[in-house]
Symmetry: C2
Subunit: 263 residues, 2 copies
Amino acid sequence: MREKLWIIKIGGNVIDDSEGLTRFLERFGSLRGYKILVHGGGKIATRMAADLGIEAKMVDGRRITDEAMLRIVTMVYAGLTNKQLVADLQARGCNAVGLSGADGNSIRAIKRPVGAVDYGFVGDILPDSVDTDTIATFVNAGFVPVFSAITHDGHGQLLNTNADTIASALAIALSDRYATSLVYCFEKRGVLRDINDENSAIPEIRAGEFEQLKTSGVIADGMVPKLHNAFEAIGKGVSEVCIGHADDLHLLREQHFGTRLVR
Amino acid sequence: MREKLWIIKIGGNVIDDSEGLTRFLERFGSLRGYKILVHGGGKIATRMAADLGIEAKMVDGRRITDEAMLRIVTMVYAGLTNKQLVADLQARGCNAVGLSGADGNSIRAIKRPVGAVDYGFVGDILPDSVDTDTIATFVNAGFVPVFSAITHDGHGQLLNTNADTIASALAIALSDRYATSLVYCFEKRGVLRDINDENSAIPEIRAGEFEQLKTSGVIADGMVPKLHNAFEAIGKGVSEVCIGHADDLHLLREQHFGTRLVR
């Protein structure tokens, strides 16, 4: 039987809220079993860029990672944020090891091809991007990998990469070796039946119910692509995808955390 | 028999010289056997501080690491410099993993006690600072640890730590498990018999000859504490300490690299 492995992703909103982050780290540290943390960026990089007089470049509302911005996100995500998370987890007895995709060649990406838009130094994940040997070596030795959203191309170029995509790619690739549960912490308590009622989280959605919930309008807007990606991961071997609030992480083991998506 | 392990330290002068760094990485990547890289800072952190309008605080010519400066060195050393070195080594087929002392609790330091001077968030290394289990796990699995000069105190505090001291502490602690060779790359080709002649490097100095070379004035000024620390490491189990120029690293295996210090 494959051992269970949690891949837990926190977004910038958790990183930016120091009290919320402390609560989350307490819960993450206490979660038993194999686990991996993937963290997004937060506002520190944007602030740092502003303080350095570097303008954030946007095209059609999407951020462009030019050379100056790549330096900043590498410093902030892989340096400041990652090492502080690791030190905080170590203080809680959790044997964290902070990694970028370059470390141990764990996640190799390709620079996004220039099309209508040149996104700059942004990395796209391929099906063979994840070196599962490297990650299994860390996990099986008792370490808890903490991934920042920086990858490399194998030729010396670091790349800014979407943290949601990294978490999903890790869960899919590692599902050959572990029963992977992919957990997204976001600002709501799950997929809500009523968007105005935080207590209306749907406990479980099966792949077959997704279309119907879309048609009926229960799942709409930003949740559609989120859940589409989640069910795609499940189709590729991930055991379950859980979506909920970072504060509820302690409910994960008892399956009371947010919304659970299953095959 | 203990396997050989190279612990190689490069200073800021190598980091700041992009052509010199490329030459060094080529040579380091080609060095066969178990190896660890320890890197200092370079001028990027100082420049970054200036760009952010943060003043470098000095007392008696020694840098003070206040909170703002700690953030900067964490970003630059453990983020930018460390990840770029790792990506560059990966591009050369060297399976590097970038680490701070917080990662895997590999190097735990204590905040320097406040005496006549408060150095701020500076970490001092203790005899039991190095977690040799963690480092041996990485090394034996075929990874090449690349250490930045950032440690932690085990209670969530990151600390700025001298890179020479980290390299020495690693070599001493790991000498129980490996035949450790500690290699310092600096701006000269070794301990020079004639300070004005780059070709006058003394090939080998035995511990018993150190006093005599000091008395005769061959070893003077900054070299005295450097060699004192080196022989101290040898007294604590390190097989040899080599001091020379980063460009000469390819001569290490044939024992023609700079000056070799032995028992």
